[in-house]
């Protein structure tokens, strides 16, 4: 998706519906066996995200890697959206050796095409630092690994503690939908936006759809719907949009004018109560000031259907791949091995990065309260999904679901027709 500054550190993530267990806080992270002695030559690293917070941690980690191993790395930072749009061409041209990417389906498409280097040897070396579910998410359809996880983050309700205190609200104690509606109402009465949403990019509102569907119809229905085993014309899907519609009066009036940066800015400038977003943007709060970052908090989206409680969350995994056409694949492997190891992730955390590590051996004692809260929010869920545009076919998510949700936000009363259109387009897709 696109130049228009869509993109950011980003919405990466992914893996098709594989449930990922919480990170165990295993004692004693085994530090990586030295790869410093190996002379693997200069290598290139393709990074995603041009935000200051993203560039900053990439540079810090690059320096740490060079110091630790004596190798020289050239870091090429890219606009996240443009990088994603051009990945196919990038990988067929002269790609960087190692590059930032997403697990699961998004990775598998490229490994199936032979564009990614098999990194099973790296998994043999540091695989014991990751939960089994992460290995599944890193495995291509041929059973080999093509991805190293580095971080993950939750899609939850983000808000400013100070704003909620002023409003006399406590989002941590929202028991159900009625309470949630009351919270939105109370926020609106004070002249703020109750629920900030942007959907200019077409993908942002998928997060709200994901969580509503999981809360109302449960994890299994959500996964089956995205796999085409359930129909979009099912009354259960219409029910999801009924709830979605109830939230519209509390949203900003320019949902289709703003992208995720617009949402972030509404929260930054205290114009809204809460918003559903991935925690990746928290780095931008920290860049602005420590006080703004300390004020930021996240809770899980409230329960709607007691049968499902709050058992599901979108918590995408980010990480690294090695390009098969890179100039130095061996160097790329050494790079991603170090970056994904507990030592490499520690360097990233030490640089002030606000993500949480995907490494189960990570020493979490340096985590700030917001990072611990991210872990708690993800840890509470029994089922982990990635994100709609990562959990289903690429030729369906953005070309079909994105405009459908945009059309719904324009004209909610057309939802029946819109959903019929979505199903018809699913049915018309070529077999994979």
């Amino acid at each position: 998706m696109m130049s228009e500054q869509n993109n950011g550190i980003s919405r990466r993530s992914v893996l098709k519906g594989a449930a990922v267990g919480g990170i165990g806080l295993a004692a004693g992270g085994s530090l990586l066996a030295s790869c410093g002695s190996k002379d693997v030559g200069p290598m290139m690293w393709g990074g995603r995200g041009l935000e200051e917070s993203s560039v900053q941690w990439h540079e810090a980690v690059k320096t740490a890697f060079e110091t630790a191993t004596g190798n020289t790395v050239t870091l090429n930072m890219n606009d996240a959206g443009a990088f994603q749009d051009n990945l196919s061409q990038y990988l067929q041209g002269t790609p960087d050796d190692g590059f930032d990417w997403m697990a699961g389906y998004r990775m598998q498409f490229y490994s199936d095409q032979g564009l990614l280097e098999d990194v099973s040897s790296v998994w043999d070396s540091i695989g014991d630092q990751f939960a089994e579910s992460y290995k599944i998410a890193s495995t291509g359809s041929d059973g080999k690994q093509y991805f190293l996880p580095t971080s993950w983050y939750p899609w939850g309700l983000h808000y400013r503690k100070s704003t909620m205190t002023e409003l006399g609200l406590d989002p941590e104690n929202i028991a159900n939908w009625d309470d949630f509606m009351k919270m939105l109402e109370a926020t609106k009465k004070k002249g703020l936006i109750g629920y900030a949403l942007g959907d200019k990019g077409g993908w942002e509102a998928m997060g709200t759809f994901d969580i509503l569907n999981a809360r109302i119809n449960g994890y299994q229905f959500h996964v089956d719907l995205l796999a085409g085993k359930e129909k979009w014309t099912d009354a259960k899907v219409a029910e999801v949009f009924k709830y979605f519609e109830m939230m519209i009066p509390y949203m900003n009036k320019n949902v289709l004018d703003i992208s995720w940066e617009g949402m972030r800015d509404l929260l930054l400038q205290k114009k809204c109560g809460a918003m559903l977003m991935g925690s990746w943007f928290s780095g931008d709060f920290k860049t602005l000031s420590q006080a703004d970052y300390d004020d930021l908090w996240i809770v899980p989206f409230p329960e709607i259907n007691p049968t499902h409680g709050r058992d599901t969350i979108d918590a995408p995994i980010d990480g690294l791949c090695v390009a098969a056409n890179g100039a130095n694949p061996e160097g790329g492997k050494a790079l991603v091995e170090w970056l994904a190891s507990a030592e490499g992730m520690q360097a990233r955390l030490d640089s002030g990065n606000t993500f949480t590590s995907a490494n189960k051996g990570q020493d979490t004692s340096s985590y700030d309260p917001f990072q611990n809260q991210q872990l708690a929010v993800m840890g509470e869920a029994k089922y982990i999904t990635q994100f709609l545009d990562r959990d289903t076919r690429q030729d369906f998510a953005n070309p079909v679901v994105a405009p459908a949700i945009q059309n719904f936000l324009r004209a909610p009363k057309d939802i029946t027709k819109i959903l019929e259109g979505v199903q018809a387009q699913w049915d018309a897709l070529p077999a994979l």
């Binding site: 498409f109 617009g262 070309p399």
Partner: protein, 303 residues
């Protein structure tokens, strides 16, 4: 006349020395080779691709799809019809409003109305900017927290919805596109007007023609070649519109248009064949005006 010209041509060709032949072969052959390689091969490849299923990476994965991509687009993709609709509105707007305004402007400036130099440069400035830059500028002006909203005292918490408001955004986009298009047409027409023999205008004035009659019966027919080029440019620019919309909405379908659909499907993974099919549709729509345009330019050259 004709036969003399032909004889002259034949005589000249006979007198080509081997060196001349070599030079001519190089001058004609090299550009032709590049043209075929860089234009025709990809174009034919794209047409072929639109009849397949292909992820766009390994040639061996190509599967024949017949008309399925087209069937999918015409019957199963509502956003395609939204895009066609936007292209049509764009064309109608340019044809009935922007282009005539550019012509009117050129005519007035050519008459050297008061302050014509100022108007000429003012309308010319946007033409210097690429369409992409035009999109960036206007996105910055009108987006929430942008310049215009700021002047109106609207902050991001209390904005006016513009690009996301479907009652007005079509006209806003067309306004932005016209901002540049009017100047472009003015420029083209002005250069045409400068070459109109002023004695024609004087003659019609002496004969008692009104301003409008002079324009319609004298200037317009004299300007026929320029008129055709302007019509063709208006049609092609409306159909291939992409840059401004991309700069404002990105590759999402916030304001779908054919050019965006081509890009959205080809970028990302696995749908290049559908993007190719959109490109072929666009090509078919453009080819009529293009042939007219080329015919006209060749006719010009021969003169």
């Amino acid at each position: 006349m004709t036969s003399t010209a032909t004889n002259a041509t034949v005589r000249r060709r006979r007198s080509f020395s081997p060196k001349d032949r070599l030079t001519l072969t190089a001058f004609v052959g090299i550009p032709t080779a590049f043209h075929i390689l860089l234009v025709w091969v990809p174009a034919i490849g794209t047409i072929g691709l639109s009849f397949t299923f292909w992820t766009g990476i390994h040639i061996s994965d190509i599967k024949w799809a017949g008309l399925q991509n087209y069937n999918n687009i015409f019957t199963g993709t509502p956003v395609f019809w939204d895009a066609i609709w936007h292209n049509v509105i764009w064309l109608v707007w340019f044809g009935l409003i922007a282009t005539p305004l550019g012509i009117l402007l050129a005519y007035q400036i050519d008459r050297q109305i008061k302050g014509h130099r100022f108007y000429e440069s003012a309308f010319f400035v946007p033409v210097v900017l690429s369409l992409a830059v035009t999109g960036i500028i206007w996105n910055f002006m009108l987006q929430p927290g942008g310049f215009v909203q700021g002047m109106l005292g609207r902050d991001i918490g209390n904005p006016i919805s513009i690009y996301g408001n479907y009652d007005i955004n079509t006209y806003v986009i067309l306004g932005i596109a016209s901002w540049r298009h009017i100047g472009y047409i003015m420029l083209l027409y002005l250069s045409g007007l400068k070459s109109v023999d002023s004695s024609l205008k004087e003659a019609s004035a002496i004969d008692g023609a009104t301003e409008w009659q002079t324009f319609r019966k004298v200037i317009l027919p004299t300007m026929k070649p320029v008129n055709i080029i302007i019509i063709v440019i208006t049609v092609i620019d409306s159909l291939r519109a992409f840059d401004i919309v991309y700069m404002i909405y990105g590759s999402s379908t916030g304001w779908p248009i054919l050019g965006i659909l081509v890009f959205q499907n080809i970028s990302g993974g696995g749908m290049s064949m559908k993007g190719a099919a959109y490109a072929v549709i666009l090509f078919v729509l453009c080819i009529g005006p293009m042939i007219t345009y080329l015919k006209q330019s060749f006719a010009e050259d021969v003169k």
